[in-house]
Symmetry: C3
Subunit: 269 residues, 3 copies
């Protein structure tokens, strides 16, 4: 995967200004909207069952995030997801907290069963729980199980029939056949709530302009990660509040030249 | 309209510290509250049908915003609006996304029909959809239709019996008889989610202290716009994250002298 | 109470990284999560009745906040609270706006009646309304009634059988027997929405690692207040937007040495 292609995809997001419909959690709505605006996309949040099918049908991508799920929102997600499917709108799914409670795990599985999802993004524990593997989330957090994460992602992608993105110290992108590893990003992202949720929505913005979903996902992760690296280098020492502000600035400013200079994506053979 | 009167109205907001009751969308609650606090007003958010009538009755203004509407919230808006009407509390209505889905359009029309609204604020497409005009929102966004926006605002104000504020590159304020144009603000506001929603709530803060609603609305738009201009001049180059922080700072700091120096409002004859 | 013990408790929060389950209002979710992350705790928000008992059972503390209460959320709070009680998880209650509407007052009383709360934190008017005293909130805001606030806090603590924290210009912490006064913090906190709500969640993080609830509460207030003082000294002049960013930075950076140098807590005899 050429960094020039990734840079071109970022350029296209900014040109097209795709409408991204988010049904997401109450913690991250503001940060998600500001992050998408900074990047050059156009965010919309809509939750009412009376309108989600309409909104999803005119969007460039639909992002479903179960971070603060409840019954009515799940019903709205299913309505929106099916409308997106009918209108060939790519659906990105973020199974926040799958495995933390039985309700989240069951809901995540219901969504991937009833909606034709294009890309699933989560950490290793969340993705493992969506596909029913017996994973210790604590073990994953140590980062000692690199080989296993790649296998997990590939297995999940084949089982779900989607692209799967597993983020962590190293990010894995796979459709079950081809697999890419991305080494961009910064540890300070873990100190900003919703940095994973916003990433899922950013993947949606890229999927809205690029049909090759592996390229779309890799372009999102590289652009996001390089912006975080630049923000951390300039403001990270000040602390997580300053970093978050600088990160929003960099989502707007990160250049195609910087993508080519700092981007790191390799194919896993 | 004298800039000195506008400066005086801003001064009064800071003296009175009016309580502004917001029933608004989940994306902008935090930014709205922080913006009102910075300005010198006192925000409260309350949504439960059991309490909205009580809360609206003790507020200086009520702001209704349908950005992430749902059935129960609409019912609460109607209860709060009717209570505000009974207690002579001015009601500001922001028809976010009217025209984007049939549900939003229908809800916006229901609210202006059932509640005695004082001021409606939206972009041209939203306002057009509230009053049932056949407007192409895309056309409005080009900004090529200046004359039409003034006519739309005036026509909407007469039809609704309210003050109408249409914001865009140029802002129009009218009660259907007198019309004012405001040329303050900065393009970076479009990169901060909820900048229109917060403006509606800021109009509420001014309407709480000034019964001349044209003066109240113009004072809000000039104060908001000048604060944005100063913030953009100092931090705009850094990006939208830094601009948002500087804008909150300037809502607190913008002085009556700066209002008189930089404010731009003219009557449209 | 030794400042060294307070510094040690802060150190322990950062070591343990306790999971704090928040059922809080829609205005402050993002700021609460970012503040807890900055401090070194691990926030989770979960509201669905299907999962709150599970989530509360695995948390280090549960924080209930009625800032934007509604029927379903109250039911979820009771479920979560009872689960926390069963699993010896401390419960912190923030009765936002008790006294402002009859519904809030009644709900606050219901929660302290049905859930075994460990710590109640509010301003003087809110706490007075929880225990049914006939307090003029306006009088409290003048700060002229210092002696009364201590008596109110002590009386409330005895009546409720909890630790009570009343925050204001001076903060009072009491279990009805021992009483401490904390003189840290900065007036700019009143210009940041949710600064009281975040403080309640921060108290939760400290209660998760320290069973002496008076020490836990005092450690939270001193750490929070010293971070605010340092942030105000460095960025306060710029305005409330810059202060909020600097405050998040300082929650992450405030050192045990700074706690010992700037902390101010005395026992009220």
């Amino acid at each position: 995967m050429e960094l020039q292609n990734i840079a071109n995809t970022l350029h296209r997001v900014r040109q097209v200004n795709p409408l991204v419909h988010n049904i997401t959690n109450v913690v991250v709505t503001n940060f998600t909207a500001n992050g998408l605006l900074a990047l050059g996309a156009s965010p919309v949040m809509a939750y009412a069952p009376e309108e989600v099918a309409d909104m999803a049908s005119i969007a460039g991508a639909l992002v479903l995030n179960i971070g603060t799920l409840h019954e009515k929102e799940i019903a709205a997600m299913l309505l929106a997801g099916k409308s997106a499917n009918q209108h060939q709108v790519p659906v990105i799914f973020d199974p926040v907290g799958a495995g933390a409670t039985a309700y989240r795990t069951a809901t995540a599985r219901k969504i991937v069963k009833e909606v034709n999802v294009s890309i699933v993004r989560g950490n290793a524990g969340e993705v493992a729980n969506v596909v029913g593997e017996n994973w210790s989330v604590r073990g994953v957090d140590t980062g000692d199980v690199q080989g296993d994460v790649v296998s997990l992602a590939q297995s999940a992608a084949r089982q779900l029939g989607t692209v799967v993105v597993v983020t962590g110290k190293e990010d894995v992108i796979t459709d079950g056949q081809r697999t890419y590893l991305v080494h961009n990003g910064d540890a300070l992202l873990t100190k900003v709530t919703g940095s994973g949720c916003l990433l899922s929505s950013v993947i949606g913005a890229f999927a809205a302009v690029e049909q090759d979903l592996l390229l779309a996902a890799a372009s999102a992760l590289v652009s996001y990660g390089v912006a975080a690296e630049i923000a951390s280098a300039s403001k990270g020492q000040a602390g997580p509040g300053s970093f978050q502000v600088a990160f929003l600035d960099q989502l707007a400013k990160v250049s195609t030249d910087q993508i080519i200079k700092y981007g790191s994506v390799i194919e896993k053979i």
